[in-house]
Each structure stands twice: as structure tokens, then as C-alpha cells.
Symmetry: C2
Subunit: 398 residues, 2 copies
Amino acid sequence: MTSSYMNELQPPQKVLLGPGPSTVHPRVLQALSLPVMGHLDPTFFQVMDDVCEMLRMVFHTTNFMTVPISSTGTGAMETACANIIEPGDSMLVCRNGYFGIRLADIAERCGATVHVMDTPWGKAVDPQMLKDELKKRPGLKAVGVVHAETSTGVLSDMKELVDVIHESGALAIVDAVTSLGGHEVRMDDWGIDVCYSATQKCLGAPPGLAPISLSPAAMDVVAKRPSKVQSFYFNLKDLEAYWNQTRAYHHTSPINMTYALREALRMMMEEGQENRINRHARVAAALRAGAEALGLSLLAEEGHRLNPLTTLSIPEGIEDAKVRRALLNDYDIEIGGGLGEFAGKAWRVGLMGESARERNVFALLSALETILSKEGYEVAFGASLSAAQRTIATFDDE
Amino acid sequence: MTSSYMNELQPPQKVLLGPGPSTVHPRVLQALSLPVMGHLDPTFFQVMDDVCEMLRMVFHTTNFMTVPISSTGTGAMETACANIIEPGDSMLVCRNGYFGIRLADIAERCGATVHVMDTPWGKAVDPQMLKDELKKRPGLKAVGVVHAETSTGVLSDMKELVDVIHESGALAIVDAVTSLGGHEVRMDDWGIDVCYSATQKCLGAPPGLAPISLSPAAMDVVAKRPSKVQSFYFNLKDLEAYWNQTRAYHHTSPINMTYALREALRMMMEEGQENRINRHARVAAALRAGAEALGLSLLAEEGHRLNPLTTLSIPEGIEDAKVRRALLNDYDIEIGGGLGEFAGKAWRVGLMGESARERNVFALLSALETILSKEGYEVAFGASLSAAQRTIATFDDE
């Protein structure tokens, strides 16, 4: 008997239209495979500086402390909470999906007394509701809110929400995992105190790093806290000493992932951030039009629909896993299943970074039409495709 | 003015002879750059299974819970402590270098009452001394000890130490960051309860993942603890559900790094673990002989010298940073400076994984002879080189 590990790895090229990872451009994969150098090599310090400079442009911030955390997005969520929260602090978390729930869980593990404000899945967090809630809860250290809920496909109005949070005197911790690079995230203009994301969604790099940015005021809170941060690995004061001119060793940086992030950010700069955000908007509009023409309803409320991720209702009588398996096996197309309340009820289609291409929308809609028809669902072949095409044609006119 | 990030990244090929990262073989870099797939794609599940199967062989264990953590080695250290320690638990940490100090710091952040047993830098942890210490400290939850101290170049006798730890009833947490793949690590034979490492040293992959293994007894402690693990990201119970047949989503796995680790482990299997360990022993012996012929003394006590990492005293009157800079700039060779007590006093030369090659020993000794001579240090050209050659010639006869 031979073991599977004896085979050379030859992964097929998948079209990644799930909630992330998204497809990674060959240029980024090539950068990933460049020779390793040391984490204290001056040549690598320049790579680090390049990455920070571009991340600041993407977050629209002048915050010095804008760095990639050596983990995936969940690690950055933990970094935000572990550094800001001290034992005895209270934090309010706005929960309108799975990642809000996770944020509340993590804040609690970091020692916060956690209050939650729940919004039904599929709805955006309402600024007025938050304002009323905050009046009842004075003295909060921070309020956490998810900009783009990857579980529901909902985008909340972050500028308004941050204004409300600041009126209460709390710090605003914002999860931009699925929005950064796909929607506008203007950290300084909106006044966000702590904002984090991940590389494998709209930034177009593989999974494994998680950009975070903290305002000087937020870093001041971290610097002045009397208690130790409960995580050594995610301790921002030590990380700052590595990323600033001190270059003090903290942990061995994921060198090649940093190369890849640099290349992905360069590609974003070449395209232009506005162009990239427009591209995400255009392909998402096409997908929504096509899905509706196919009779699938959109689960995120109108006016608050995310572009990088669309949640679609699964038609009655159609078996979720079977359709996704057919897409993956027969078409090499991956889409995501529902999470939490939406498990078994929704498909999650990601059009992020390199995956946010018109050809992918056409391929997905055509494949879905074919598979659903085979499953006995009534399909007018080409109807969803032409709805998508019409949307794109019109969109170009705008 | 143009920004540096506008340039294409073209890192020179460095010879990495520092404390890690070590040089990564082109086959591993190629695997790193294969197309991304989803973290819930059945094709990726097979990659995960392959990695676990090979990691078990490297740890010499049948432990089901043998997985790479999505962080560097420090994150795995934190994973070990955060999952085993509950508030109110006591832990003893054997400190004989920088990473023992770090382990004690992390254990404390995880809520342990930490006791320390200090051994001078350059010495191995003494089993009898530990036995005496443990008699004075009943009721410890765990004892942490570093197998291979990367800061001092010392290897401790892990089998004996684990026996002593178990006599006291505590769990043995072992840091094998710099030993795994370069020295024998026999988790089951030695009875280690929790053991962790990192990819960028003797395993030969880039930095960014950290293998960990827990015995069923240790996982039972994790499973039965009434309190939540303070870290969500490093929570082993949830990670187990992703790595076992449940495949429950926890975080987006660093896909490409997992490809690279798989390929690095395959290369280890092809070479044979015993051959690889012998290779590390042979090149380390050559380096030690050459360094002594050059008049540099070895800072780790005889009989406990690490093969993957050698600490050398810096001769009086020689400027540490200047020599390392010359090695890096004129020869593209990286070695490490001293950490903690050894800062400014020691060079740390890593011969790990792909870097553990005779040609690298020859290149380093020749370059060192040249640079030190220029700095006014008395050098008999070729003396250190021939000492290294003689050692290798003899070593082959054994």
C-alpha cells in the first residue's frame, strides 16, 4: 500500500467563488516562491516598509501602526480584543451574523464583560438603534462592529456607526475582513480606532496574514495599560518594536507570505483602488441580476448588499451540498455554503480580488442553470446569463 | 520620487545560516506557489491528512492530535500553554536560555502561577536538579522545558527529564522548535505530553506554520477543562474538529504554506529521518572543529551541543555587527547575533534543514577567516577549513 503523501501535489486550478480564499494571480504566487531571506535582514526590512506603506493607502490612514499580523483574520480579531481589553473592561458587540458572534466570543475570552446588540441576519446594523443602546450603557471601553458580514452578505454604514460610537466615548473596533480592497474603507476620515482584515479575500493574496491598523489614540491605550496583554504572540507593543526602526526580534516573520502580500498590494496600486472597487461593484451587480433572473432571492437587505460576497437563497427541494459538489467536481468552481443561521439555507458567492471577474459570473450562472435544471428546477436557459450581461452593459454606461 | 514598493521584488539568494529561517529547497518553493484551493475543499483535506501523517512520523507518535498551527513557533508555544493552563494552575518552567524565559512569560500570561528553575546559559537542564526542585513543588499542572535552546545552542536530555516530570505527576510540555528534524524527537517513547516545533528550521519549509502534537491524555485535559481557553485562535478543541473528520470551519487555513510543509516533509521522508539527523550531526561537527581551529570557543557545554545551532564566542576586539554585515553583504551569508545574555558575545550559526550542507560550512569558515583577518585578528588561512574537512573525512568512516 502506498501512502497519499508519496504523490506529487498537483492541485487543479479552481475558480474560487467562495467566502475566501479567492483566486490568487500568478504574479502573486511567483512572489510567494522567491528565495527566503532572514527576518532581520535589512533587505527584508525594506519589504516590510513597502507593505506598510501600501497597507496605509488601502486603509486610507496615516497610522504608523499598520502591519500584517502573522495569522489569518481571526487572529487579527483576537489581536484587536486582546490588546484593547483589560480585565474589567466592558465592550459592546453588534451582532448581525456569524462574525459578530465570533467577535463577542473572543472579546469575552480576552476578559471583557461583553454586551451584545443583535440585529436579524441579513440586516445592517442600525445607527439609531446603536445610539439608543449606547445611552443605556455608559463607560464602555470599546464597541465592535463588522463592516462586511461574510456570513450574511451585509454591509453596514461604518462612518455613521463610528460617529455614534465616538459620541459615547468608546473606541471603535471594526472588522473589515471582507470589505478591505472590495469596498471603501476610510479609516482616518471615518475615525476608526482599530481596523483589521485578512489577505485572502479582496486583497488577492493567499491566506495566512491579517493586516491591522490602530490609531495613535488606540496605540496609546495599548501602551499605557498596566496589565500585560494576555497574548504574547499578538502583543502589539512588541510587534510595533519589530515593525518600527528598532527591528527588535519578536517572532520569525512569515517571509514568503509577506512577499506575496507586497505583490498583491502592488497589483492593487497598479489597477487603482477606485477601479478595483468599481470592478467589485460591477461584477456583484451582474451576479445579483443573474441570480434573481434564476429565481434565487437575495438574503441581504437592499441598499446594504456587499459586493465581494452575495448570499443567495437555496430553492426549495434543492439539495445544498449536491449542487456545490457538482459545481466543484464538474466545473472546478467553489462557492460557499451557509454559516450559522444560514446553514443549509444560503449559498455564499464570493467575487473578491482576482475572482471578481465578469467571466467568473458568466461561468457560475451558466453552470448553476445547468445543474439546477438537471435537479428538476425550472430554468429558462440563458435567462440569468443575459440578465447579468445586460447589467454589465448598463453598468459600463454609468 | 518613486516609492520602493513600485520595484519588482528580486531578493538575492542568501545562504541562511542563522537561527532560522533556513534555506528552502526549490521543490518546496514550487509547492508553495501552486494554485490556491479552498480550506473546505475535499482535495485540500487530503493535503491536510498527508501532512498529519508525516508529522506523526517526525514526532514519532501515534497521537491523533498532531497538526500544524497557523502561526510561527511562538504561537505554538502559546497554544500549548493556553490550552493546558487554567486559572489557578501552577507550572514550572526550566529556563536555560531565551526561549525558556519566553515560555515562562507566556505561561504567566495564560494565567499560570509560574515557578522557574534557572540553569546558567550554555548548560543543559539537569535531571537531578529538576528532581530536587519538583520535590519542593507538589501539585504542578505542567513542567515546561526546551529541548534545543536556540539562544545557547544547548540540547537537554529530554527522555530523562520527562521521566522526572512524570514522577511528579505533572504534564511535560516540550519545546522542540530547533530540534525537530535535526535531532531525534521520540514523543511516544519518551512520554512527552505536549510537543511543538516550527517549519522554518530543521523541517525545511518557510516560516509561518508550527507543528504541535498532544497525547490523548493531554487532549483529555484540554477537552475536560471547565473554563474556556483564553485564545479562540489557538483553541485546540476547535482546531481538532477542523483537522478530524468533522472538518468544521474554524479559520481559513494557510493553504499554500500547508502545500510547502507537505513537500518539505516528503523530502525528509525521501532522505530518511536517520540520514537527515546524521547529516545535521556531521556538518555541525565540522563547523565546531573549524571554529575551534579559528580560535573561537564553543559556548555550549560539551556533550550537550546542539547540531542544528552552534554558538560561538566573538573574539575580543572584534565588532559583532561589522562581521555579520560583511558576511551578509559581501558573501550573501547570514548568521545570527546573540540573544539575551549572549547579545554581543556570541554568534549563532544555524545548520538546519537544507542549510545543513558541507559546502555551507566550507563557505562560512573561508569567509570568516577572510573577514576576521581583515579585522586584524590573527588567522592561519585554511586552518579552520582543513579542520572541518578532516572532521568530515573521519565522520564518514564511523
